[in-house]
């Protein structure tokens, strides 16, 4: 390291010092050029407009359901996939997907608080489209919004 490099001589720096400095600048420019190319590629491959992403698409499923729910308060949540069963790898993958769908439902339905429980009287059911979910006991489907989304209410 050149921490102890003496101050510049009066007659200007030696050629090797200048060349070393040039090499340093060249390295930075090389690094910047590589990133710049990656940035341009990334920009060119991006979709023409937003809202075609996974989160926006998933969120659109909840638009009608949101209107049917109370504006505020706490609502229950049940959904697919079942995090139990299968091999450990399957369990981990299912558990992650289950959690992600729950988070997305919470994100879409804010400011309602969604809890993974059937304790509240109103429960959002978020199942795989076309599946036949087993309902939590004591609940009936109040409204089916299609695409695996149902609103469950505790039977009186």
């Amino acid at each position: 390291m050149s921490a102890g490099t003496p101050s510049l001589p009066e007659h200007g720096p030696k050629p090797w010092v200048v060349n070393r400095a040039r090499a340093g600048i060249a390295l930075v420019l090389l690094y910047a050029a590589a990133s710049g190319v990656a940035w341009i590629r990334l920009a060119a491959s991006a979709p023409a407009r937003a809202a075609s992403d996974e989160i926006s698409s998933y969120e659109r499923r909840f638009i009608t359901l949101r209107a049917a729910l109370p504006a505020r308060g706490v609502v229950g949540y049940v959904g697919d996939p079942d995090p139990e069963g299968g091999t450990p790898d399957q369990r981990e993958a299912n558990s992650l997907l289950h959690f992600k769908r729950y988070l997305l439902a919470q994100y879409a339905l804010a400011p309602l608080v969604l809890i993974e429980s059937t304790e509240p009287d109103v429960v959002v059911g978020n199942f795989d489209p076309g599946s036949r979910p087993s309902l939590p006991s004591g609940f009936h489907i109040e409204r089916d919004f299609g695409n695996g989304l149902v609103l469950l209410r505790r039977a009186p």
Partner: protein
């Protein structure tokens, strides 16, 4: 809506610049427009966030806020104008500046910035809600506050602990603020906030080095920053790491100003305290930053003399105090207990502390992540900087010894602090190291660049550019 969003940013930046100009210790230190604007913008974002938080405590997230904030800006602008007329014009500080950067450096810097902005916009179009943590924590909280109306405090319900309701409010409140200006929710709001922090950091780094060292030095340092892949990619993910990094950087810049002008004025130490407080208001890591900076100042006192360090410490504490009160009010009134702390058990923690494998694993990952940080295919930014340092050499300047010791010690202590947190608190250590370590390094990255480029010789000093 786009105009309203632009106005929200403009009001923040203008307010920050006006307030900074107001408190700038003229005539002891001449005002620098590039540095003053970039630093003022950082403070402006922070102050807007705090102002909205206080407004929400009183009235909730109501539509009257933009009007009141804009009116306050108008009053501040009139006062600042009146003060400016009274004060004499002075030239900007010259710092160590010599000559102008070569044309190709300016071209490279400009092209890199344009490419980075294009990439940022591309990433935002691809993921308008940001990455997982953004919609799970930051944007969710913003939605809950904005949509919650009078019940906005439900956003901090302990029924959803996975959303980290104890996280400080800088990013979320600025997103809410953008929606209040826009008159409704738009994903352009979080994107604008993220862009302001990401490119604000680049401009602040360049402006600071321009003021302290030379234009070339500012260009080269900002070139490295915008070319660090994770900085742009993560900036566009709408997380809090780049924002907290901006306030870390602002702290060190204020400490550098204090290092050079601390004998004449204590105001920069006060501003450093304020910037640290804003970091604390951005992410919980900012809480750890407070003792790290205090310890850094004490270290500098040990090496350079206590009277000066005491002065700096007093000013720093004065600037930090208001943010301590704001953060305390949030933690005491709204935030539930931190989930990392809440799940700690004494027996388990003691077991982790006594486990040498955790120390080794954490150290190994620290070294690996540091060595590969900023890898863009050509090489890592760490190796690039080491090579650059060897090529250019170090410049010693007595006036900078005090604050460079403070900054180096604070940055080192932050790394040590993160190491200790990983070893003693992480439940799933390998997973947490893998998912968090680069983000923690990124928070410090702009500050590391600032410190390094303050001590590395400029291209002019190394004889590369014309003078």
């Amino acid at each position: 809506m786009t105009l309203a969003l632009a106005l929200s940013l403009l009001v923040s930046v203008a307010a920050g610049v006006i307030v900074l100009r107001w408190v700038w210790p003229d005539p002891e230190v001449a005002w620098s427009w590039p540095l003053g604007t970039a630093l003022g913008a950082a403070f402006g974002l922070g102050l807007s966030s705090v102002l909205l938080y206080l407004w929400m405590l009183a009235f909730g997230p109501t539509r009257g806020f933009p009007l009141v904030e804009s009116s306050l800006l108008g009053v501040a602008a009139i006062l600042a104008l009146a003060r400016a007329r009274r004060s004499a014009h002075r030239p900007s500080p010259s710092g160590d500046r010599t000559g102008h950067p070569r044309g190709y450096l300016i071209c490279a810097g400009g092209l890199a910035l344009v490419a980075a902005v294009a990439a940022f916009l591309g990433l935002v179009r691809r993921q308008p809600h940001g990455e997982w943590d953004a919609w799970m924590n930051w944007d969710l909280r913003a939605r809950m506050m904005f949509r919650g109306g009078e019940s906005w405090s439900t956003a901090f319900s302990n029924l959803i602990p996975w959303s980290h309701p104890d996280y400080p409010l800088m990013v979320q409140s600025l997103v809410v603020r953008s929606w209040l200006y826009a008159g409704g929710e738009t994903m352009a709001g979080p994107a604008l906030v993220a862009a302001a922090f990401t490119f604000g950091t680049v401009l602040l780094l360049a402006a600071a080095l321009l003021a302290f060292r030379s234009a070339s030095q500012g260009v080269v340092a900002s070139l490295v920053l915008v070319s660090t892949p994770f900085f742009i990619v993560h900036g566009a993910s709408f997380y809090g790491d780049v924002p907290v990094g901006l306030f870390f950087l602002a702290t060190f810049i204020c400490l550098a100003l204090d290092g050079r002008h601390g004998v004449a004025t204590r105001r920069f130490a006060v501003l450093a305290g304020l910037a640290t407080g804003l970091a604390m208001w951005t992410k919980n890591e900012g809480v750890m930053f407070v003792p790290a900076v205090v310890a850094g100042i004490l270290v500098s006192g040990w090496t350079s003399g206590w009277p000066r360090a005491r002065r700096t410490l007093a000013g720093f504490g004065l600037g930090l105090l208001p943010m301590l009160l704001v953060a305390a009010s949030f933690k005491l009134r709204l935030a539930p207990r931190n989930d990392l702390l809440a799940t700690l058990g004494i027996e388990r923690t003691l077991g982790w502390i006594a486990d040498p494998r955790r120390y080794f694993l954490t150290l190994r990952e620290f070294v690996a992540h540091l060595a590969t940080f900023g890898n863009n295919g050509v090489g890592s930014a760490t190796w690039l900087l080491i090579a650059y340092l060897l090529a250019m050499g170090i410049r010693r300047r007595d006036g900078d010894r005090l604050w460079t010791a403070t900054a180096a010690a604070a940055l080192a202590l932050m790394l040590v602090g993160h190491y200790i947190v990983f070893v003693t608190m992480a439940y799933d250590l390998p997973r947490l190291l893998n998912s968090s370590l680069d983000r923690l390094l990124l928070q410090l990255w702009p500050s590391i660049l600032f410190l390094l480029f303050m001590v590395i010789r400029t291209p002019e000093e190394a004889g590369h550019s014309r003078t």
